[in-house]
Point group: C2
Chain length 215, copies 2
């Protein structure tokens, strides 16, 4: 078991323990952590397609392409894995801000400032997650087009995981953006997210269909 | 690190190690294990919605409903977690069957029999995964309708994870079914899967929309 209040250690815990903690009544780890892990799983599967294709007959000409895809999917995997801790930290910071005293005018002002600053972070983290998942989806097309046929279904699983992660992260942006007083920031975040989700939906469907055809 | 060839221990390994192994050139763990874990994460999130809602103001009348949902999602979580090992075992059995000697007629016959038997198992395991994920999706509607508003987004993440898991498992059925000589078995599996996927697609979209409206 990992220590409570030690978000950095979540991905160091076992899958069994993580699932137990996810199911529990504790608010973290919750959907935000699950989203980042699904995104990281998607990136890992794209790396796997590239790694298995390496040196395989029929994949020789795609070798430089797949090496580049793998370098990018590994960088995304690292970022998405780190986001598990960032999501928990952002959520805990927001909860702590809501619990600040609100008796005097000064306290009220300090609390409001802390809440707004935490809400921004709790909007930025899932937005970054959705952005990275969109990248994983783009890479899954290249892995699906050029990868070795024996593992091509893993590109289909990777794109499905990354899309579920993006949709999940989006929900956390939808929750937090309406409470932001900095409306310009909130509207920019929502507009960027809308663009990401529109292209993710179309692209993930296209890649899944491409993979099914190649099976 | 877990021992190679010890599929039962996969969910006992850390998330970091699992992601490393997923990304590696080793064929297992691969998409099938990732599918089962996403399904288990979906079930865990439905349990979380129920567990957090317990005793919350406004959720009193839904208490019996949410207790029942939680009991079912926990049973599904246990089954889906166990499927990680089953998927690896089924894949390893199939790979071992393909490697059997095929010099004499007797060897050829024994090999063909072993391949067919392994292919059946490698079709049944992901089909069972898709079936259980469809159950998770059905439960996510009940959690999304009756759960506490503060964690309702987790029902949206849960349904997204379960749907990605079902789509991912489906790919493994699509791969293995065409090689089955028992066509009646194969056609039955594909027909059942088609029914599952049609209802999963519609239902997961509806639940995601329901959650977004309640945010």
């Amino acid at each position: 078991m990992i220590e409570p209040g030690s978000p950095a250690a979540i991905t160091g815990t076992s899958i069994d323990d993580f699932l137990d903690r996810l199911a529990s009544k504790d608010p973290t780890p919750g959907g935000g952590s699950a989203a980042a892990i699904m995104g990281a799983m998607g990136a890992a599967l794209i790396s796997m397609v590239c790694n298995v294709s390496h040196g395989k007959k029929g994949c020789e000409s795609a070798e430089p392409e797949l090496l580049e895809v793998c370098a990018q999917s590994e960088a995304l995997r690292r970022r998405l894995t780190a986001m598990v801790a960032e999501d928990v930290a952002a959520f805990d910071e927001l909860m702590a801000a809501y619990k600040l005293p609100k008796e005097t005018d000064e306290e009220k002002q300090r609390r409001s400032h802390a809440i707004q600053s935490s809400l921004k972070r709790a909007t930025e983290v899932p937005l970054a997650c959705a952005r990275d998942c969109a990248e994983v989806i783009r890479l899954s097309r290249r892995a699906g087009e050029h990868g070795y046929l024996g593992v091509i279904s893993d590109a289909g699983v990777g794109v499905s995981a990354a899309y579920a992660a993006a949709r999940s992260a989006a929900l956390n942006v939808y929750i937090n953006a309406p409470s932001l007083k900095d409306r310009a920031f909130a509207e920019r975040a929502l507009a960027e997210l809308e663009g990401i989700m529109t292209s993710c939906t179309a692209e993930s469907e296209a890649v899944y269909a491409l993979v099914r055809e190649r099976l």
